[in-house]
Symmetry: C2
Subunit: 199 residues, 2 copies
DNA sequence: TAAAATCCTTGACTTAAGTTAAGAAATTAT
DNA sequence: ATAATTTCTTAACTTAAGTCAAGGATTTTA
């Protein structure tokens, strides 16, 4: 399956993993041999709400959106993730319960992925991979906590400027109504806030 | 230092750790030998904002509050934690940067703690402890995400009923103005919501 | 057990966000 | 290139939370 992974993607993957754990060639080969490759279209769903996450994706490039639908039918964007990095619904994967969120590719991209079972046996066999898992879990926690604190500390206006400072790529690349729900407000409110802002 | 740890506390600790990793006596002895013991008064600060977290506490019993102060001076409670479990500012500990939050004991209690350095070398030496670290990081993420989603999905009223369902102990044991800021609203609003609710 | 501190409620008023609706602008797909 | 879709803005009105202020209830502490 590796035959189809381009040199470029391989490098991005290796580099990313190396940020967290120094990998001798040997270990890296073991890791990569557990990953598969997939081409993904813009707007394609990587994980569908209701299904239990059974893989972790590595995005070498591009970005993805996490969203779910409320009872009333409104769609809520809970997160964005810009490459490079690993994504899945960690809650669904860890608890092995149906996912609340959908994960959607925002652009056409190539992804690698590892199946849950294989990840678990890698964790079992390779202490270093377990460490990678710990470090990644710590990172997603920190990101989630930042998002949470923006609700506890700031008004919607302030959250919008926080977002512009903390994640300028979001504001540049992402439709306003997705950002609005990420900030917990309506698109109309965000539009007004942005207006107040520029005057 | 272990001489002073009561049998009861030791059992609670062992039981908790066992939930995550099966520990043969041997490994448990290694783990416990890295922990120290401390008596804590009600309202005592376990970690002070501005200082970098250098330990993880284990609470065998009791509960703690996480809070910080905004520029304007208002105090925000971002989290509560009920024993048994491990607490610290994970963000501060992981990044080794000054903590934003204070951690305060809500009742008189006994705690165990391990120093950051010792934890790191345990991670290094013991694959199983690294796993424990991964599993705990995953848990704190899941908790944080739930809290976050309550802001994205629900109105303050709904967050209050969510809180009553999800964490009834909070509502029973915690002053209303702490709960209010945990929900991202003023005490006055929470008081009114609660009133609407019972009529 | 009395004084002090903390905690909770209520009222009057202000403000900002939600709702509904319509249309303009921009992007995407054929 | 044009139609279709998606995205964004604006306006009028409603609603719920914030603010300020005061007083009562409860808990803590000396």
């Amino acid at each position: 399956m590796n035959d189809y992974i381009s040199e470029n993607i391989l490098n991005l993957f290796h580099e990313f993993v190396n940020r967290f754990i120094p990998t001798e060639e040997n270990l890296f080969d073991i890791i990569i041999s557990n990953f598969e490759y997939k081409k993904v279209a813009r707007k394609e769903i990587l994980l569908e709400a209701g299904k239990t996450a059974d893989k972790i994706f590595f995005l070498p490039e591009g970005f993805a959106r996490f969203y779910h639908t409320k009872k009333e039918g409104t769609e809520v964007t809970s997160d964005f993730y810009f490459a490079p990095g690993f994504i899945t619904s960690f809650t669904s994967l860890i608890e092995q319960k149906p996912s609340i969120v959908n994960i959607q590719a925002m652009v056409k991209m190539d992804v690698l992925f590892i199946k849950y079972k294989n990840l678990m046996s890698l964790y079992e066999k390779e202490h270093k991979v377990e460490r990678l898992g710990r470090l990644l879990a710590e990172q997603v926690f920190i990101t989630s906590e930042k998002h949470l604190l923006s609700f506890l500390n700031d008004t919607p206006q302030e959250r919008y400027s926080w977002l512009m400072n903390e994640y300028p790529e979001y504001v540049k690349n992402i439709p306003l109504h997705f950002l609005a729900s990420y900030l917990g407000i309506t698109p109309e409110s965000l539009s007004r806030i942005r207006n107040r802002y520029t005057k």
